[in-house]
Symmetry: C2
Subunit: 259 residues, 2 copies
């Protein structure tokens, strides 16, 4: 029996990601965290701090996928619009969550420290469950299949630890990657397609050229939820690179940023 595929979307929220000011790193972090749990990221979107845009994206994605993970827009400043937008997307009100208030009261001790702005971070759509924030305390939250996390990468990573155990994953898609130096895509294209066709959809193959000071070459990647099929695919990729006269090199690390 084929195990169910569980698919999710990532929604990155913030003007700074679209203006070019900030390089997102959260999508990759979430994808790497989810893969071994059997949750595949099938789509991602980046929207500005515009309530209508957030609402529309959340409602489309939560209907289409098993899970939605959002990052950004839950801080204390006026440009943090995500919590209200999530409430609007679910058609519910929003209020200070007693447990979230208690967390912030314990963290921001002393008269006047837990001011109106900071108390905004305790506002949660009605019916939401908190997601703990081990880094800076102000929690994220979960509304049904939507998990709302902070945008600062270190805080987001901390929140993922609380999200993971709440997910029901499916088939785990694993990959094998093989590097071939001085191999060109045009030389392996036909062979690579033949490999994919022979697997009847059990394995997908990707080809990613690289260029650098040490020359050029390819990474060939096989992805599959079937361990035996993936083993064979990895061996086939090695053979494909050898057929080009190059010595294949198994790659266990993820790619560095491509240039």
């Amino acid at each position: 029996m084929t195990e169910k595929r569980v698919k999710a979307a990532v929604l990155l929220i913030g003007d700074e990601l679209l203006s070019g000011r900030t390089q997102d790193v959260n999508l990759q972090t979430i994808a790497k965290f989810m893969a071994p749990l059997g949750v595949q990221i099938a789509e991602a979107r980046v929207v500005a701090d515009v309530p209508d845009e957030i609402v529309a994206a959340v409602n489309e994605l939560r209907g289409k996928y098993d899970y939605v993970f959002t990052t950004g827009g839950i801080g204390p400043t006026h440009d943090d619009k995500t919590a209200d937008a999530i409430a609007a997307a679910f058609g519910v009100g929003i209020d200070v969550h007693p447990e979230a208030r208690a967390i912030l009261e314990a963290h921001y001790k002393g008269p006047g420290n837990l001011n109106e702005a900071r108390l905004r971070m305790a506002r949660v759509p009605i019916g939401g469950d908190l997601v703990p924030n081990p880094v800076s305390k102000a929690p994220g939250f979960q509304m049904e299949n939507v998990f709302v996390m902070a945008g600062v990468p270190s805080i987001m990573r901390g929140m993922l630890e609380g999200v993971g155990p709440r997910l029901k994953g499916g088939a785990v898609v694993r990959s094998r990657a093989v590097r071939g130096k001085s191999v060109r895509e045009g030389d392996i294209a036909k062979g690579l397609e033949a490999l994919e066709n022979a697997t009847n959809g059990a394995v997908t193959f990707g080809s990613y050229p690289w260029f650098g000071p040490e020359g050029y070459g390819l990474h060939l990647v096989a992805r599959s939820a079937d361990p035996a099929a993936l083993d064979k695919a990895g061996d086939d990729l090695n053979a494909l690179i050898r057929a080009c006269g190059a010595e294949p090199e198994e790659v266990t690390e993820l790619d560095p940023p491509r240039n």
Copy 2:
């Protein structure tokens, strides 16, 4: 008279961006390139190498925005599905473009070098105009308001140079950023909101906390298409940080990746 805002979407195409294998850097490159041309990136999406998903995203985004910039999926291997998907999105056929073939023939000299796989890179939807590729020759293309570029960042950057002159930009949104060390969001939130409200929409303000070995603090960013309003906004941000007892520091570089 207020100058028109010209808005665009970025569509990043590739399984490797969603599996966590590859860290995208093209969105930020495109956003930084477009900003001074008066083209604002208003939304971005990441989709897998799945034709139906690419078609749906292209058709939604090209109707919603002035321009769409896609990256990825135009190489010689079977997992490169973008050109066919763009043809399907526009309801046209696809064929080898004579000029693209000539470019590839000049580049892949010698018998058998321009094989069937490499010739795939000359296939362009009917009616498409080529976008030159100064890096590795195989061109991108333009269909109406959609620009289709390579996914490898160095090649994509080269193609942007050919795309820029074809765009009709609008108002140029500029920003000023001020750094405040040991300033916390909760301390400036009220003041920051008051600044934004006082500009009647002429300026938007964002607040971005940072944490690092040297401590913590904020970047406060003002964005506006009105140079005079932006000047005042920058001065107001300096005053806001001074009011917290910190010495503001004007930031002219973009942020490094946040941790």
